[in-house]
């Protein structure tokens, strides 16, 4: 079974699809999305609010390695236990517009499941920039490390 996460991002489209197969019953996979304590652990974020129900909302707060706090929030539009969550996602204090996420949870067998995350962005440009975020951060981090090493050598 292919367990790696797959990303489909076609050129010129304002959407992406992330799929991943889990060695977990669908109930446990779903639980990891609705239990605040568990979300905190695997998303590496603080959960300020998580109302897992239709018209509910959530608020996360992440602290980056420099100690800066970043807020994320969204509203839950559809909620069907062990099947789907439809929600919005917003990065507070960034220029990125809100994105729409369709999460579907599928039972594959008694002990395996599959998650499909279909994300719609406001435009093709926004999508491409969001996809490049970790890439850009990676490059910046590499630069910072390089600067650190050089700086140490100068001293």
């Amino acid at each position: 079974m292919e367990r790696k996460s797959k990303i489909t991002a076609e050129n010129g489209k304002q959407e992406i699809t992330i799929t991943r197969a889990f060695d977990l019953p669908v109930e446990l996979l779903f639980k990891a999305y609705i239990d605040a304590e568990i979300v905190e652990q695997w998303m590496g974020t603080k959960v300020l609010k998580l109302e897992s129900k239709r018209h509910g909302c959530y608020q996360f707060e992440t602290t980056d390695p420099m100690g800066n706090k970043h807020g994320f929030n969204g509203t839950i539009h559809e909620f069907e236990p062990n099947q789907k969550i439809t929600r919005t996602f917003e990065m507070e204090g960034s220029n990125f517009p809100v994105q729409l996420e369709f999460l579907s949870f599928e039972k594959q067998s008694e002990s395996t499941s599959k998650l499909t995350m279909h994300v719609i962005y406001k435009s093709v440009e926004v999508r491409d920039n969001v996809l490049k975020l970790p890439f850009a951060q990676g490059i910046n981090m590499a630069h910072n490390r390089l600067e650190e090493i050089l700086f140490k050598q100068i001293k």
């Binding site: 996460s5 990303i7 889990f22 996979l29 568990i38 695997w42 998303m43 590496g44 970790p134 890439f135």
Partner: protein, 107 residues
Amino acid sequence: MKLRRDVFQAIADPSRRAILLLLATQSMTAGAIASNFNTARPTVSKHLQILTECDLLKQEQKGRAVHYHLNAEKMKVVADFLEPFRKMWDDRFDKLEDIMKSYEPKK
């Protein structure tokens, strides 16, 4: 002074992507590249200049002619830009799986 260019902006243009594709298997002169397009020669030159400025292409002097070829290293960076995003989610999902495998419902 040369303008610093964004690689991703450079490859967002269909003509420039076509040029990169053309050069994937061989190095070519500007004239040979231009003969593959219906656009005016200066337009192709402009595209070549942009691609060169952002390091996707390299120029090589061969006798009197300048040949263009792909800068494989830079191309790899562009091809891999989705990988950190995929890896970020993969790491999160790995963690999720680990946590839930040892999950015991609270009484």
